[in-house]
Amino acid sequence: MIKGFAGRKGVQLLFYALTIWFLWFAQTTLDDYSIRVLNNIAIFIILAVSYNLINGITGQLSLEPNGFVAIGAYVATLFLLDSDALEYQYYLEDPSSIVLLMHTKSFIIALLAGGAAATFAAMLLSFPVFRVRGDYLAIVTLGFGFIIRILAINNPQITNGSLGLNDIPDHTNLYWSGGLAMVAVTVILNIIYSKYGRAMKAVRDDEDTAIAMGVNTFKIKTIAFSTSAFMEGVGGGLLACLLTSVSPDQFTFFLTFQLLIIIVLGGLGSTTGAIIGTILVIGGAEWLRFLDEPMNLFGWTSPALPGMRMVVFSIILILVMLFAREGIMGKKELFDYFKTKKPKEKK
């Protein structure tokens, strides 16, 4: 379970049980569209809580998710496609032998492979990137995302280039995505409430003092970065199986931007905030579709303004940063509110 989690074990178990029941209920009763949206939300929860680990908890602004998600998605896909699928799909050039070697029928192994590949990339990237502090990380990770996309496009013998890979077996259902989301949240919360988490927060709050106190900031940052990458890779694999196809154009900066707005809205540094943010943004994006259509305001019909959604999102981001920088949850978790305030105080 979660260490340091306020409240009794019973409460935690109840929470888990409720979630599992909800997943079963949704998977068996809801229609395809709702299931799809819930799957999206679950996957983005995994991405958001892990992105929060490097951005919100460790305070290092990194713009890398689209890169790691891409790596995870492609690697998991390559493992899951069997040789028949590979033969007829590789349109541009024949698949390289490495690709033909990678194969597994097990979904979980493919996901883990995706995560591992992303982690490997993260550790490689840690060396140049954490030597310089602060702002450079943002640009370098942004560039890394670009380079991954360019590599995907220009190496058709591995990735089938811009055509991408299709007919991926659709293993993803709510049990997988929801289940893995629960695992991800549990792991992240455990890290946060451990000595590593405390060190990460120290790095965020005052790096110089942390160094003075003997914290190996390079190691801590790398741990946060790599863990983040691993989960983003797994999330990528889940996404690939949900959409049953993967192509380079899915992994642009827009994906990172979505995650950024999610964790900012939810509160940088709050895991429950990230969950709330995901539900709001991903669920809200569907609901906010109406912004793209003609609207009736007091009898005056505005023309359809496709793209208005994005303008509204960027304005929200700016407003949150200006006026409510803490986001919805700030640095607190939802359960902090239920902590020690027992009979006397009301919250």
């Binding site: 602004l61 060396f127 702002d135 496709p306 700016i318």
Partner: protein, 298 residues
């Protein structure tokens, strides 16, 4: 490849590099005084190009008048962005500023997308820029020469401002130690506005040049240029204006000449700037000409 073609490509590379340089100067100046990577800077290039397009096509101004409109309009926009989005966060942690800058960038791109649509608009290139010059067996447009020359002139102007005017002294001082400067009675906010105005004006010039060379104006045109210009600023040494120009030339040059030698690498063109960036960060993080900001505080 023969020397003639090589020379032709080198001049093309310098021309491309100049445009990166113009945008890089703005990045480096803002970073110098505010320690902020203004993600929206590349989009100011786009706004400049659009203003120029608007001036010539809709308002039917002569070219230079439209260019001035673009320059002043962008300078004004730069100051406005600073006042609205960055000034309130002066005391906030840097991560907030960075995120806000990303928000501003996205806002500019998407609102222009909504206003003008994503279809590229043909920029009316003025005749003087399109004349073909033939030297030996090399063919150039006049634009290929005008751009680097104007860039160097503007670099000279900026250096003049920085080192010979009292505002320039204030800017450099602010980059060095912002707290003491305020104690000396200088209005830091005014200086910041000047920096943003100068940087944005240069980006607008870059935008006009870009539109002359590649006459298709669309809302996303500033994204790649902006990123490469930032890489250029870091490679040259962030905080150093001359470094920014140097970095710009290096990156532009490499893009054109490497592809000329190795056309199979065509797809990787955009990656060069980032590879340079990572290399520099690995081996000489302060860049070619730069000095270490973090150290100068103590």
């Amino acid at each position: 490849m023969d020397y003639v073609t090589l020379l032709q490509q080198m001049i093309n590379g310098i021309s491309l590099g100049s445009m990166y340089a113009l945008v890089a100067i703005g990045y480096t100046m803002v970073y110098g005084v505010l320690r902020l990577i203004n993600f929206a800077h590349g989009d100011i290039l786009m706004v400049g190009a659009f203003l120029g397009f608007f001036g010539i096509s809709v308002l039917e101004l002569p070219f230079f008048a439209a260019a001035l409109l673009a320059i002043f309009g962008s300078a004004f926009l730069g100051i406005l962005i600073d006042k609205v989005a960055y000034k309130p966060l002066r005391k906030a942690p840097r991560i907030s500023l960075l995120i806000t800058a990303i928000g501003v960038s996205f806002f500019l791109e998407n609102s222009f997308n909504v206003l003008f649509g994503g279809v590229p608009k043909a920029f009316p290139v003025p005749d003087f820029a399109e004349q073909i010059i033939k030297v030996a067996s090399l063919t150039f447009t006049t634009a290929a020469f005008i751009v680097p020359i104007v860039t160097l002139i503007l670099l000279g102007v900026i250096l003049l401002i920085l080192y010979r005017t009292k505002y320039g002294v204030a800017i450099r001082a602010l980059a060095f130690d912002s707290q003491t400067v305020e104690l000396m009675g200088i209005d830091a906010n005014l200086i910041f506005s000047i920096v943003f105005a100068l940087g944005s004006a240069l980006a607008a010039v870059g935008g006009i040049f870009w539109a002359i060379n590649y006459p298709a104006v669309e809302p996303m045109m500033g994204v790649m240029v902006g990123l490469k210009a930032f890489a250029a600023a870091v490679v040259g040494g962030i905080g150093s204006v001359t470094g920014a120009v140097l970095g710009g030339f290096i990156i532009g040059f490499t893009e054109v000449v490497v592809i000329a030698f190795f056309p199979e690498l065509g797809g990787y063109k955009d990656a060069f700037a980032f590879m340079f960036l990572i290399l520099v960060l690995l081996f000489k993080p302060t860049g070619i000409l730069g000095y270490d900001f973090e150290k100068t505080r103590f």
